[in-house]
């Protein structure tokens, strides 16, 4: 990346400083959340909020883990999030490819359907969808938790836009070599979509993992709860909130997200700069 020299050294340092200041500003609430998870309830309600814990203890965490059937909720959340993410990575790239690279009858209609779904506020279809799922007998089942979300219009749109930036000539080259359409998709185009797939993977996983309202209404027995629902159980009250438990729960919930973020980012993004498109 050493294209420029000399004077740019100073500007590089300035950039680092600016970015670091920005980083501190941006990351502050996150740090406060993690620090807050080891504080006592009384300290958390103080104003102005304290930074370093006056008395740190793992109480909030031990309470959570002892009261919660953590394994079950974690497993449910994982199954749902992984299924939704896998489904989206596969199906959204399939349709995104068709919409960006292929010509076929109905292409416009499908694209309009995708965009329309993306633009309709979710709240208006929530109850009808729930009644539909209930009539299909999927209430209180894990499929009921993930089936409606296996393909998201957001993912289709993302993959389509990304693939539009890839050269069409690759298709022709593949066809000349005698490859079938689906093989071109799987073996030529898909490997080039690393960054987009990684991004879609992270965003989809995040959305599914943090989803609260749908699992809340679909699950009717506690063993179908996902992690966010279970954590809300112990931290929100009719008139008051248990901030310590809430922050501890929030920290626990985002650890897998951090892990996914780091894995996906490293495996796909760092690699792509070297392959080059051609």
């Amino acid at each position: 990346m050493a294209i420029d020299t000399g004077r740019s050294r100073l500007s590089r340092w300035v950039l680092y400083v600016i970015l670091s200041v920005a980083l501190v500003a941006v990351i502050a609430p996150f740090v406060w959340m993690v620090l807050g998870s080891v504080k006592s309830e009384g300290e958390l309600r103080q104003s102005p909020p304290t930074w370093w814990p006056q008395t740190a203890s793992w109480d909030n965490y031990t309470q959570l883990f002892s009261r919660l059937d953590f394994g079950t909720y974690f497993l449910n959340s994982t199954i749902v999030a992984v299924t939704v993410t896998a489904g989206n990575l596969l199906f959204c790239s399939m349709l995104g490819y068709a919409l960006s690279m292929l010509d076929f009858r109905g292409k416009r209609v499908i694209f309009i359907m995708v965009m329309t779904t993306l633009m309709i506020p979710g709240v208006v279809t929530f109850v009808p969808l729930f009644v539909l799922v209930a009539n299909a007998g999927l209430i209180d089942t894990l499929p009921g938790l993930f089936l409606p979300f296996l393909v998201s219009p957001f993912g289709v749109f993302l993959m389509r836009q990304f693939m539009l930036g890839l050269p069409r000539d690759l298709l022709d080259a593949g066809r000349i070599d005698g490859a079938g359409e689906l093989r071109i998709f799987a073996q030529i185009i898909l490997p080039l979509c690393g960054p987009a797939l990684a991004t879609l993977g992270i965003l989809t996983f995040l959305g599914s993992w943090n989803n609260f309202l749908w699992p809340l209404v679909v699950a009717q027995s506690e063993d179908k709860y996902t992690l966010p629902v279970a954590l809300a159980l112990y931290s929100t009250g009719q008139n008051s909130t248990q901030y310590g438990l809430l922050l501890a729960g929030a920290t626990v919930v985002l650890l897998p997200i951090l892990a996914i973020f780091l894995i996906f980012q490293r495996r796909f993004i760092e690699g792509i700069a070297t392959t080059g498109i051609k």
Binding site: I27, G106, P121, R266
Partner: protein, 311 residues
Amino acid sequence: MTATVTAPPPVQAPPSRGRRGGLREGRAAWILAAPFCLLFAAFTVWPVIQSLYMSFTDTRQRDLRSPFAVNFIGLENYTRALSDPTFRKAARNTAYFVLVGVPLTLLVALAAAVALDRGISRFRAAYRLGFYTPVITSIVAVAVVWRFLLQPESGLINTVLGWFGIEGPNWLGSTTWSMPAMILMATWRNFGTAMIILLAGLQAVPTSLHEAAAVDGASAWRRFLHITMPLLRPTLLFVSVTTAIGYLQFFEEPFVMTRGGPLDSTISLSMYTYKQFGFGNYGLAASMSYLIFIVIAIVTAVQFRLLREST
């Protein structure tokens, strides 16, 4: 972009390259589209039709179990919504939020993405993760910290402003300054998502092009303008559209921080619609949702025109 691929076109075009792409492409396309179409037909079509139907009736919550035992009232819900002064205020607030918030968020995201992609070479992963943390931090923690930041006397923002001799306002308690506070908070919260998508798009710009242009003597700024931006166009369109769609439905920030106040200065269309669903006015709330949809559709169409793809 097509500078390096030079596969010569085949002499005899295979018969499948017809006017509409032909049978082979069509069949493959439908196989690829099948999962989406099936799931869409199963889980999206019916709820949309049902909610659309509800918006033309006087459905209340108690009618949900007998959806046909309601009166068809045509566009009455829509006209009621449009003439409701609170709905109009919410619409103005939302427009303010989107017109200022979307460009601001995109600008910050683009600056961050470019800085992380080309500007620096070390600790990239740390900065990337750090800038993404607002997206994954619990809204409760976000709310506590931002409430503190925005406090009139001891809050950080007003303290910093004080160093420059400016007396900061009572952010959350003022009808003029509550919206800017929400916009600031939303930008902070959401630029990370836009940033990582733009980063993905930037990654796909081949280094070789930049090197070639640099050898030809192009400055960094010109390279950015003439090589990066055009290639980034589809991704930019995506980020712009999805951020606008998200912001047109902004809900969490005012819900948690101000509950729509003070005096309805931060109430959003989504919040008001959600309230109507809560009151059980399903027909009216459905019509509000579809009004929001119409606005989103128009705004999206405009963006598609402006950031038109060259294909």
